[in-house]
Symmetry: C2
Subunit: 180 residues, 2 copies
């Protein structure tokens, strides 16, 4: 993705944060991470992240999802004897988000996944999060999520984040910054 | 503090959260912790807390401070060989907060501490936090904070919270729920 495109998406993410009355600093605005997961299809598969803090004990981020944007299925593997994998809590701040985790498949789920990606989405136990709702995932379990028609803002509280160790179901995915 | 008074303060805290467009669930509303630190002077020394998540790895809370309310000076001591003390990040979401930490004393600080408590406030290095600003404290260092004239809402991201182990400068303080 070219820099101009990244800046455009950063500004679009800022507009959502502003709509939700969430203030970020100018530096945080410049550093919004635009994640396209190497698929070059940001409108369908992508995520915009403001990393507030990520230290060796805990991490806090704001996740911005444009309407129907999907964070693709992945898990946070065990990293060492003392780290059984990243644990995270998603708290919906604005909009609506459909979170899918391991467990009984939900009939008629609200998510809409483009056909070409469908085979890389294997867990379908649905949790609907509206503002004020939250869900804590077990470490090393598969999950993915999609914003509703209006988009969504989700606070992520977690143990230390090591994004590059995430394991994605889709083998084409590369979890690197989208910028060229 | 009597239950009716706690409920009144919980509702007052909810009004601040609503003003700041921060949604909490009905259960979280009922469970807002009103901390008067055993001093029975909540307008001066007190804090209202929504605990979103507190597990053995990380913690996230929303702190509500009424106008000029003070969270009194304390530190989070070393708890074990593997836990050097709670580490925390304060992020201002709404209003203004004056945070004081160890370091060079700030001349003409913005905080206003009632005379009778003054001797229990010993660190005066001031950090002013406005919406979008944040500060991460070193574990086991003294700190305290006061909201500005409009009150404040502060997100706290941290390692596991064990409030009852906090060490306060004022020996009269008891960090227990305010309810009788």
């Amino acid at each position: 993705m070219r820099l101009a495109e990244v800046v455009k998406l950063q500004n679009r993410a800022l507009a959502y944060l502003t709509k939700a009355d969430i203030a970020i600093s100018p530096k945080e605005h410049r550093e919004i991470e635009v994640a396209d997961f190497g698929l070059n299809d940001i409108e369908n598969i992508g995520l915009e992240l403001v990393v507030y803090e990520n230290n060796d004990r805990y991490c806090a981020k704001e996740l911005v999802l444009f309407p129907r944007q999907i964070c693709p299925e992945h898990r946070h593997p065990k990293l060492s004897e003392s780290n059984i994998g990243k644990q995270e809590t998603f708290r919906c701040r604005w909009g609506e988000v459909y979170l899918y985790v391991e467990g009984k498949r939900t009939r008629n789920p609200k998510a809409q996944v483009p056909d070409k990606y469908m085979k890389y989405f294997t867990v379908w136990h649905e949790i609907v999060l509206q503002p004020g709702d939250q869900y804590t995932l077990k470490p090393n379990t598969l999950h993915w999520f999609q914003a509703g028609d209006e988009g969504a803002i989700v606070s992520e509280f977690s143990s230390t984040s090591v994004d590059e160790s995430d394991v994605f179901t889709d083998p084409h995915i590369k979890r690197l910054p989208a910028i060229e």
